[in-house]
């Protein structure tokens, strides 16, 4: 096994006020990357945030099919996500709605995943999420705080949560 392990860079950009784009290259052909998104068993192994487990309740991978999954921890916290597959063109393009359970409910984002074939059996993945408003987009970006920063410092968590809700 050749040991030339490099981690490809993850790039994040905001092409407009209502979009966020993530770009990443993978050392595999598109079909394999596609499989890691289309197979719920594989998806559950990587998509959950570091400190949360993930269970996929529904994953009807075809245009018009619904998906639903939950991120949860040992303390009973649960975060419910759901959406619908709109376009699936293997191995080029996936478009789906993306939403999570909120009270009151929020309008879904549209996630577009482009898989671009690169030389040497590699793939560039470009995901673009489009939201109904800048506020919804910023809210989604800020929910990324679930990993990394929080390490059980309660007041710090509260401060961050307050910042997250924009109530500063």
């Amino acid at each position: 096994m050749s040991e030339n392990k490099t981690t490809n860079e993850t790039k994040v950009s905001t092409p407009s006020d209502t979009e966020v784009r993530i770009e990443r290259e993978f050392e595999a052909p598109r079909e394999l990357v596609w499989e890691c998104f289309s197979d719920p068993e594989l998806l559950a192994q990587w998509l959950g945030p570091r400190y949360l487990k993930m269970k996929v309740e529904e994953y009807d991978f075809r245009p018009g099919g619904k998906w639903r999954y939950t991120h949860f921890d040992d303390e009973g916290n649960e975060y419910f996500f759901f959406g619908e597959f709109l376009e699936l063109e293997k191995p080029d393009l996936m478009v789906q709605t993306f939403n999570f359970v909120m009270d009151p409910p929020i309008p879904p984002a549209i996630d577009r995943l482009d898989l671009i074939e690169l030389e040497g059996g590699r793939t560039r993945l470009v995901t673009t999420s489009t939201f109904e408003s800048k506020e919804l987009r910023d809210g989604m970006i800020q929910s990324g705080m679930e990993t990394g920063v929080r390490e059980g410092n309660e007041r710090l968590d509260e401060l961050l949560a307050r910042k997250l809700s924009g109530d500063s």
Binding site: V12, Q142, G144
Partner: protein, 120 residues
């Protein structure tokens, strides 16, 4: 190239912010400062750390713009610099790390699948 310089400087600040937050002692300091300002010795007391050691941590937090300090008479008062938490880049960098993390796990699955494909 003022824009490039600005970007470089900006990402340096963010790196500082995140490495400042990655240390448990510094998170404890921040945790305490969320309640209100405190002097260096008040911060040192619960950690059992020397004043010199604590000052070093405070300096790191100050450079990361998470804390501001002010000298009043003979004591230095520390308080949270919430502006540091408010910058758009702060959240965007955290969001990026989150995805870099996930894609790192996706790489592992891909490598596993590639090996399986070869042996079977």
């Amino acid at each position: 190239m003022p824009i490039v310089n600005h970007m470089v400087q900006y990402s340096t600040t963010l790196d500082r912010t995140f490495s400042a937050l990655s240390d448990p002692t510094r998170r404890t300091i921040l945790d305490r400062l969320v309640e209100g300002s405190a002097t260096i010795s008040e911060l040192a007391e619960p950690t059992g750390m020397s004043l010199t050691g604590l000052k070093k941590h405070v300096k790191v937090l100050e450079e990361a713009r998470l804390v501001t300090t002010e000298k009043r008479g003979r004591t230095r008062h520390c308080q949270l610099d919430e502006a540091g938490f408010d910058e758009a880049g702060f959240w965007l960098e955290e969001f990026r790390r989150n995805w870099a993390d996930r894609f790192g796990r996706l790489d592992e699955i891909i490598e596993r699948k590639k090996r399986e494909g070869k042996t079977t």
